[in-house]
């Protein structure tokens, strides 16, 4: 009933989190702190267009990193990366068209409407994983078998060979179909293997069934189910092959297989330099598929997906119906974020996400925001409008605020933790499990039952062992405490006490004072940690399986350097990632 992109909420920024004992403070940056050998960071697409990324020289001297960095700019070993089920769905659509594609999506719950369609990084969902286990293989086998059956039932339409194809026509179709499915030319061995299926099954049944089973075999072939990142030699660090890079780029940006232009560029060896790669990034980013994919990724990034499941005890929140979904705050807020991302991501700097003074509202949300929309009477109509002075950016939108609230009250701690983790890549501590400590917390909760949120935060910030961690994130939540559980602005708490939204930001900000949530967002947007954190997480997204990166990894810093030299838009960040060594090159993974 919610109009949504169907992106299952996955915490975007939890990769590589490191547990820090409560008593020792919580100032650690998210991710392992391994490796201390600085390497040159990247000038990337902006600074080095024209040099050869494929040869490993496309990234130049550091231009924007914060000095020392950790580890290598090449993060991952040579590997094979399985396609997610959504990527398999997109691949099937490209091979068979939307009729069978839609049927496969529905029958096997693999398409963009599937609740497991999107996680961040893509394979981090419990329903996915990086390995094709028995359970996943069984599902893939069913899909492949169904594709074979579809081919038999639509033989002429699919092959163009008529109802009783000749061997020559059928074999030509199979070769061509396999190349499209594998996203590259076939080796002689691969062609021989798939034609062996054709000849064996032809002997058993006949040509139509031989085509059917060949398609079945292609659909469950590892050459389709994985994209390889092996380069020309497994024993040496080096670039992906042009066809590998074409697939990696396409699945990164659009979650689907490479289009004709990318494959053609790979074939012509025109996917070598940062400029060549960047040109394809720009072209792909102009497509609807890429934009929807990346808007969906960012939707998960900000954890707005939680909105679909969060429980809020406010009747206006849940008043949407099937017939009039946008009469409810939940559905309206969801759509506001969708529209905000769709309209903000592709123009202006990345920081607009936190600083934009406009949004896309309907009458339902206008009521929550304490404003009117002249001339708009139908709640299904969302219009671009300036937001009130107490709003600005995603963190003050109902979608973010409600998704991080308790049923009856906003949560200073929950909101603070999300900002700390998702926007700044700081490590959030685990909730204590020591019974003695839990008893102390319960005792404090009882003692502070009548206290204001600020008084509670003051207690947490001044009392060991709470202070070790809460001082690092409570301030963010306190600045957002002027918004209730559905994001309505409030000057007073339920007990009639005035809420002071001014906060002294954590040490990360050198204890800078922010007068309210809008000022806090501006401070975060300007902080180098935000850019580095965002870069790290989008690089993880691009790498699909989630590498052990940190904001201060050399791989991250190389991208940050190029990004700072650009117009600092999301498109530029994606371009920097696409041309980075972390994306285009792999370390040797060891011989067998």
């Amino acid at each position: 009933m919610i109009h949504r992109l169907k992106l299952p909420a996955q915490p975007v920024l939890l990769a590589g989190a490191t547990v820090v004992a409560l008593a020792f403070g919580c100032s650690k940056v998210d991710g392992p702190q391994t490796g201390t050998t600085p390497e040159p960071s990247s000038g990337g697409a902006s600074a080095n267009a024209g040099t050869s990324a494929a040869a490993g020289t496309g990234v130049g001297p550091g231009t924007g990193g914060s000095g020392a960095c950790e580890g290598s700019v090449i993060t991952d070993n040579k590997r094979v990366v399985r396609l997610s089920f959504n990527q398999i769905s997109r691949t099937i659509h490209s091979l068979f068209g939307d009729t069978f594609g839609a049927k496969a999506d529905a029958d096997f719950e693999i398409g963009p409407e599937s609740p497991t369609a999107r996680t961040f990084p893509p394979l981090s969902s419990p329903q996915e994983g990086s390995t094709i286990t028995t359970g996943i293989w069984q599902k893939v086998d069913l899909i492949a078998s169904a594709a074979g059956n579809y081919s038999l039932a639509n033989l002429d339409q699919l092959t163009g060979c008529g109802a009783t194809p000749s061997d020559a026509c059928a074999e030509a179709f199979i070769r061509s179909f396999a190349e499209k499915a594998y996203r590259r030319p076939l080796s002689a061995t691969e062609a021989s293997s798939i034609l062996q299926v054709y000849s064996e099954v032809k002997e058993i049944y006949g040509v139509p069934e031989a085509v059917q089973h060949s398609v079945y075999a292609i659909l469950q072939s590892p050459q389709l189910l994985y994209r390889t990142e092996l380069g020309d030699s497994k024993d040496q660090t080096g670039p992906l092959t042009p066809y590998e890079l074409a697939s990696s780029l396409s699945y990164f940006l659009s979650d689907g297989p490479p289009d004709t232009e990318l494959l053609s560029a790979a074939q012509q060896q025109k996917l070598q330099t940062p400029a060549e790669i960047a040109a394809h990034v720009d072209r792909i980013l102009a497509t609807k598929a890429a934009r929807q994919n990346l808007e969906g990724a960012l939707f998960s990034y900000f954890q707005v997906d939680n909105l679909a499941t969060v429980k809020i005890d406010d009747p206006t929140f849940t008043s949407g119906t099937e017939a009039k979904p946008y009469s409810g705050v939940r559905e309206s807020a969801y759509h506001e974020v969708e529209l905000f991302l769709a309209n903000s991501l592709w123009s202006g700097p990345l920081t607009d996400l936190l600083t934009a003074r406009k949004s896309w509202l309907n009458t339902t949300l206008a009521g929550v925001y304490g404003m009117t929309l002249p001339g708009v009477s139908d709640e299904s109509q969302f219009v671009e409008t300036a937001v009130p002075a107490n709003r600005g950016g995603l963190l003050t939108q109902v979608g973010f605020l409600a998704a991080n609230s308790r049923p009856d009250v906003p949560s200073v701690v929950a909101r603070g933790l999300v900002v700390n983790k998702s926007l700044l890549c700081q490590t959030n501590p685990p909730f204590p499990t020591d019974p003695a400590l839990i008893a102390k917390i319960e005792e404090a909760s009882t003692m502070l039952a009548a206290a204001s949120e600020r008084e509670r935060a003051a207690y947490r910030g001044s009392t060991a062992p709470c202070s070790g961690c809460h001082r690092t994130f409570d301030a963010y939540g306190l600045a957002l405490d002027t918004y209730d559980s559905i994001g309505r602005y409030r000057a007073m708490d339920p007990q009639g006490r005035a809420i002071d939204p001014s906060v002294t930001l954590p040490a990360l900000f050198d204890n800078e004072v922010a007068t309210d949530a809008v000022a806090m967002q501006n401070a975060i947007a300007q902080h180098p940690g935000f850019t580095a954190c965002f870069s790290k997480n989008l690089l993880n997204w691009a790498l699909a399986e989630g590498s052990q990166l940190t904001p201060t990894s050399c791989a991250t810093q190389a991208i940050v350097g190029g990004f700072k030299a650009s117009d600092q838009s999301l498109s530029s960040l994606l371009r920097e990632i696409a041309v980075s060594k972390a994306f285009t090159q792999r370390n040797a993974g060891g011989t067998q």
């Binding site: 009933m1 299952p8 909420a9 915490p11 939890l14 989190a17 490191t18 547990v19 070993n77 040579k78 590997r79 094979v80 029958d107 096997f108 719950e109 609740p115 981090s124 419990p126 329903q127 390995t131 094709i132 028995t134 359970g135 293989w137 069984q138 069913l142 078998s145 293997s193 062996q196 299926v197 099954v201 058993i204 049944y205 089973h213 079945y216 075999a217 469950q220 072939s221 590892p222 994985y226 092996l230 497994k234 024993d235 998960s300 997906d305 939680n306 679909a308 499941t309 849940t318 119906t321 099937e322 017939a323 959030n428 685990p430 909730f431 499990t433 993974g589 060891g590 011989t591 067998q592």
Partner: protein, 357 residues
């Protein structure tokens, strides 16, 4: 091919609807009168707690009196072990009562923490393999070639982002050893990465469960025509799997050592099924002749729902979810029973009622 026969040649006209369950049950009873059946295991679970005072038996060890809730199982009392109090003995940092409780129940193992899945952060992961997988690996006669087991669920909307409240099976046994499949995941609690026993996620669609279990099954007994048709189908499918294995071998040769386990896991899944095909082909397709009739596939439209838990019970819902659960649950049960009777699997887990939180 199969190790035992049923007394009746045909026990089922179709399992497309709930009505089939009654037919199955009648025929299972009839079959049981004249034939011995192998050991089987069906794991089911009634989630989200119960009324403790009416659940706990009185007594201990083998000398106990069943509680009112357990009274219907009186006839099984001598074979019964009643377990409770996991929360006092097992740990799961950050795990919710319901969320950690289900893996506790199915694995009896401490959990390393909770899954970072964007949900409530209390989605406890499995710290050991589930009983069905342990039994499959170690109890002689339970493991059949092919799928080996099935895990089904009638509704996945609660908690829609969690695995623990939806999954009863964890950690497939790795062939040829004592290990079970595990993987490293991001943890909401205690943070960082933790190792979980890989969830064997439930099948929501009875039609898909049917396809998994019956795709290699040729019905009708050992007639000449059936055998020929069966052999053709088996050889054609084997050709497809052979192709996959050739490609995996080629990929393994190209990939570095760090990817070997990943590729081997995939190849192992294919080889398991191919081994079954080879056995069937070597036996002349129908072999000893299981004389059970291949049931009709369930309606593909009948499947457990996914999506937000808040869709459940929403005013706009046009049909009763309880009715839907009953139809899906019965269809799942019918598929499992048919697969048991045809001796395709001997281990299954299934949950019909879902955890409403």
């Amino acid at each position: 091919m199969k190790s035992y026969r049923f007394a009746r040649r045909s026990f089922l006209a179709g399992i497309g609807g709930a009505f089939a369950l009654e037919i199955l049950l009648r025929d299972m009873e009839a079959a049981a009168e004249g034939a011995s059946s192998p050991a089987r295991m069906l794991l089911t679970h009634f989630p989200v707690g119960t009324y403790r005072q009416s659940y706990l038996p009185k007594g201990s060890q083998t000398d106990f009196t069943l509680s009112p809730i357990l009274q219907p199982f009186e006839s099984l009392k001598s074979d019964m072990i009643v377990l409770y109090g996991f929360q006092d003995r097992l740990t799961c940092p950050g795990g919710g009562g319901h969320e950690a409780g289900t893996p506790f129940t199915t694995t009896c193992a401490n959990s390393p923490g909770t899954r970072a899945n964007g949900g409530e952060g209390d989605d406890g992961v499995a710290g050991g393999p589930s009983f069905d997988q342990v039994f499959l690996k170690h109890v002689p006669g339970l493991k059949q070639s092919g799928a080996g087991y099935i895990n089904t669920l009638a509704d996945a909307r609660v908690d829609s982002l969690e695995t623990s409240t939806q999954c009863l099976s964890y950690g497939e046994g790795i062939p040829g050893g004592t290990d079970y499949r595990t993987r490293s995941i991001k943890a909401a609690n205690p943070g960082g990465n933790i190792t979980e026993y890989t969830p064997n996620l439930p099948e929501l669609s009875p039609a898909n469960a049917y396809a998994k279990l019956f795709s290699n099954f040729i019905p009708g007994g050992s007639t000449t025509g059936n055998n020929e048709a069966a052999l053709k189908a088996l050889r054609a499918r084997k050709s497809v799997l052979d192709h996959a294995l050739r490609e995996l071998a080629a990929l393994k040769a190209l990939a570095p050592a760090s990817e070997a386990d990943k590729i081997e896991a995939h190849a192992s899944a294919v080889r398991e099924v191919e081994k079954q095909l080879v056995e069937q082909i070597d036996n002349g397709a129908m072999g000893g002749g299981t004389v059970c009739t291949k049931p009709t596939a369930p309606d593909p439209a009948l499947k457990g729902q996914t999506g937000s838990k808040f869709d459940y019970g929403a005013e706009a819902t046009a049909t009763s979810d309880e009715e839907q659960h009953e139809r899906i649950g019965k269809a799942h049960a019918a598929v499992i029973l048919a697969a048991f009777q045809c001796d395709i699997i001997r281990v299954a887990s299934s949950r019909r009622i879902f955890a409403l939180e």
